[in-house]
């Protein structure tokens, strides 16, 4: 009896302590964001971004001074007075990122975040946006829905974020996206690949939501057009039913391949994680002969899929979207495996800017694993461009600018949005091919248009 009470008391103390601690933290942070002097630029304060940021962002050195100034009196004053300095155009422009640094999206969100930090540093060094510095604050959501929502709220209310970045999976990002668009903020996901970012999922308020990823309909189209260009006439299409993105890429491939005179001889997929991947060799060999296999899935099951197909003696070229990027999953000696991606991480990217960015990240000890990192840079560049054009950080105005982007030049190439499509289309893809386990850049290629799916 006594023991329980003690345990309960400790627990209660822990709760209160935790909560007080964090509320105190919130109070401590306030002066950081409301630092009155415009020249006091703070980026990536460890207060909210405890993760040792791999890249020293512009004004990280300012954090200690700001911290030491944060006396209780300051906090009280800050709490009492209006703290909307950021919105008034005086302080830094805050970009809040509610992203995953722990769970299954961390391999995508992490590199995008690092690229965003490098880009912010570059922009700040060049004088910022509208004369204001950019400041990135991030919170790890661990893909937990409640934590995702709380992270977004924390960034919006405590950090006074002007723009919100979310994780790269639309379903796990939804709690944060909804908080962002509800607060009237431009809400951007670095690398969601479906057309779900925007009004098609979130209704009218979804006008504020965008993704810097490549639209699945566009990516499927480019893969099909490349296949046609290679002279392939017949295709076996193998979608992974797990994600809408995979289904859409493979459907778009089918659509465009047939539009261009190709013939899809079989379309039969599997589902990641339900252990059906080991059946793929039979599915593929049973489909008969074809010139190309379009495989839309991701690690870990893509390894078993590709290796299974090759080990079964099938030498047909395999085409994959960005989800097949990276060396980490490649079985040894992989040959005739082609994928489309944002950037080559194998040192042979045709763009000097991209290679410079990769170098900056590698120097910081965070070499990217796939080309998806570039979307973090693109997000910052697009946001900066929109703020410059709109002369404001107002979400609706920024969204209007985003919808007008047509061929906007970014490190990731020229990007376009439309009122209907809030995910990038028309970007030039890097077509990459693995031969004998080595990846090689083939060509830059943009889709003539996104394929239309029913």
């Amino acid at each position: 009896m006594r023991k329980t009470s003690i345990a309960a008391m400790i627990m209660a103390a822990a709760m209160v302590g935790g909560a007080c601690g964090s509320s105190k933290k919130a109070a401590d942070t306030t002066p950081v964001t409301s630092a009155p002097a415009p020249e006091t630029t703070v980026a990536a304060s460890p207060e909210t971004t405890a993760v040792p940021s791999p890249v020293t962002t512009a004004a990280a050195s300012a954090e200690t001074t700001t911290l030491s100034k944060a006396t209780p009196a300051d906090s009280a004053a800050a709490a009492a007075g209006p703290t909307t300095v950021g919105a008034s155009g005086e302080g830094p422009i805050v970009i809040g990122a509610a992203i995953d640094l722990t769970g299954n999206m961390a391999p995508f969100d992490g590199p995008a975040l690092v690229a965003a930090q490098v880009t912010i540093k570059k922009i700040n060094a060049a004088g910022g946006v509208l004369g204001r510095q950019l400041e990135l604050k991030f919170i790890d959501t661990k893909l937990d829905p409640a934590a995702t929502k709380a992270a977004a709220v924390d960034l919006i209310t405590t950090s006074k974020a002007n723009v919100l970045l979310t994780t790269c999976d639309v379903d796990f990002a939804t709690p944060a996206i909804q908080e962002g668009i509800k607060a009237g903020l431009l809400t951007v996901a670095p690398c969601i690949g479906t057309d779900q970012m925007g009004p098609s999922r979130f209704g009218a308020a979804g006008k504020l939501a965008f993704s810097m990823g490549n639209l699945a309909q566009d990516e499927g189209a480019v893969l099909a057009e490349y296949a046609i260009e290679k002279g392939y006439k017949t295709a076996i299409v193998v979608p992974d039913n797990l994600l809408v993105y995979f289904q859409n890429v493979c459907s778009a491939f089918t659509k465009r391949f047939e539009e261009k005179g190709g013939k899809v001889v079989s379309k039969s997929g599997f589902t990641s994680f339900d252990h059906s991947v080991d059946n793929l060799p039979t599915v593929v060999t049973g489909a008969g002969a074809a010139d190309v296999i379009a495989l839309c899935t991701f690690p870990p099951d893509i390894t078993a899929a590709v290796k299974g197909i090759r080990d079964a003696g099938v030498k047909t070229p395999i085409f994959s979207p960005w989800s097949g990027d990276g060396t980490f999953w490649i079985p040894p000696g992989l040959t005739d495996f082609t994928y489309s991606t944002f950037a080559s991480v194998f040192g042979d990217d045709p763009s000097a800017d991209v290679n410079a960015l990769i170098k900056a990240m590698t120097d910081a000890g965070k070499a990217p694993g796939t080309g998806g990192f570039i979307t973090g840079a693109a997000a910052i560049e697009a946001i900066a461009a929109a703020i410059t054009k709109a002369g404001s950080t107002d979400g609706a105005k920024l969204a209007a600018e985003f919808e007008k982007f047509s061929g906007l030049d970014t490190t990731s190439g020229k990007i376009s949005f439309s009122p209907d499509l809030h995910t990038v289309f028309g970007r030039e893809y890097r077509i990459m091919t693995f031969s004998n386990g080595k990846a090689k850049f083939q060509k830059l290629m943009a889709a003539s248009s996104p394929a239309k799916l029913p």
């Binding site: 709760m15 509320s23 909210t48 405890a50 405590t158 209704g203």
Partner: protein, 325 residues
């Protein structure tokens, strides 16, 4: 009184920390739901998150505006696609569907014991998730349900938890609850005095299913959205761990387990962001909170195998060693 408490909490804590409280209350309510069945019967169910999922999806789909629903989820059966319900109605619907589903599942499965029961209920969870994710006539497919009205505030979350605790308390004090607890103590003796194990378990299973459906609806009205992976394995393991760490055989244990793990989890993730505590500043490394939480759970289990509550129960005059059955 509750409103005052909630109001008090909301003035003291920042908005994002309040959301963690919301979440703690709702998740703890789920633990209490599982307790009603598993705690009283002694048969662990891995399937209760199915009922949470059913409740959450039903409430989510029916609280979406018909127009948006038609645009995003065009395949739905017309009666799902074209109808819209108010917040309260979705809570009732979710409880009804959760109870009905639990009844159907229970009719087949409550006859099973031990691990067979565990695996069978786990299979129900797998089926529920698979169907909701792939049968686009009844669910949103591999997409989240967006735009659910966020009507679960701090007060509502706390009320939902208290409601669940009260229902659980009334049930376990009722004749039916006492009969079920007798079967947990000694199944053979219970049969020997005429207790129908099957019937008693089915009552508890259905009741807890209805409660779980209700909590699922509260959950979706808190999150504002839901997807199948958010009400699947991770949540199942979390809720069960909370139940066992708190103490599976008492309502107090279930409540204590849910609240304490939630709050430690919050503390740790705040710690990753940087946390001032007793004038000391702590910063935990990224992604370390899961490691610490798992280690703490293991330590609690090793030092208190019967859970934090160690069999103690809520009582009117403080905590008693064990309340009447």
């Amino acid at each position: 009184m509750l409103v005052l408490l909630a109001g008090g909490l909301s003035t003291v804590f920042s908005q994002s920390v309040q959301l963690k409280f919301h979440n703690a209350f709702v998740i703890t309510a789920m633990v209490v739901c599982v307790y009603v069945s598993s705690g009283n019967s002694g048969v662990i169910s891995f399937g209760h998150v199915s009922f949470v999922a059913i409740g959450a999806f039903a409430a989510g789909l029916f609280s979406m505006k018909a127009q948006q629903k038609g645009a995003v989820f065009n395949d739905l059966f017309p009666f799902i696609k074209d109808n819209h319900l108010g917040n309260l109605a979705t809570l009732i619907l979710a409880a009804a569907l959760g109870g009905l589903y639990a009844l159907v599942v229970g009719i087949a499965l409550v006859r099973l014991n031990g691990l067979s029961a565990g695996i069978a209920t786990f299979a129900v969870l797998g089926i529920t998730r698979n169907v909701l994710r792939n049968w686009t006539k009844v669910g949103p497919g591999a997409k989240s349900i967006p735009g659910v009205e966020e009507t679960t505030g701090l007060t509502q979350a706390l009320m939902a938890l208290i409601l669940c605790i009260v229902v659980a308390y009334i049930y376990q004090r009722s004749a039916a609850g006492r009969r079920l607890r007798a079967t947990r103590e000694d199944a053979i003796a219970a049969q020997g005095v005429g207790i129908r194990i099957y019937r008693e378990r089915l009552i508890a299973f259905t009741l807890s299913g209805a409660m779980a459906g209700f909590v699922g609806a509260v959950y979706v009205h808190f999150l504002g959205s839901v997807s199948t992976d958010q009400v699947y394995l991770d949540l199942t393991f979390l809720v069960l761990a909370m139940l066992v760490v708190g103490g599976v055989d008492s309502l107090w244990g279930a409540t204590l387990g849910g609240l304490s793990i939630s709050f430690i989890n919050t503390l740790l993730s705040e710690g990753e962001k940087g946390l001032s505590l007793f004038r000391q500043k702590f910063t935990l490394p990224t992604s370390s909170s899961g490691i610490i939480l798992a280690a703490l759970m293991a330590i609690v289990l090793l030092t208190r195998p019967k859970g934090l509550a160690n069999g103690r129960e809520f009582g009117l005059r403080g905590f008693r060693r064990r309340d009447s059955i």
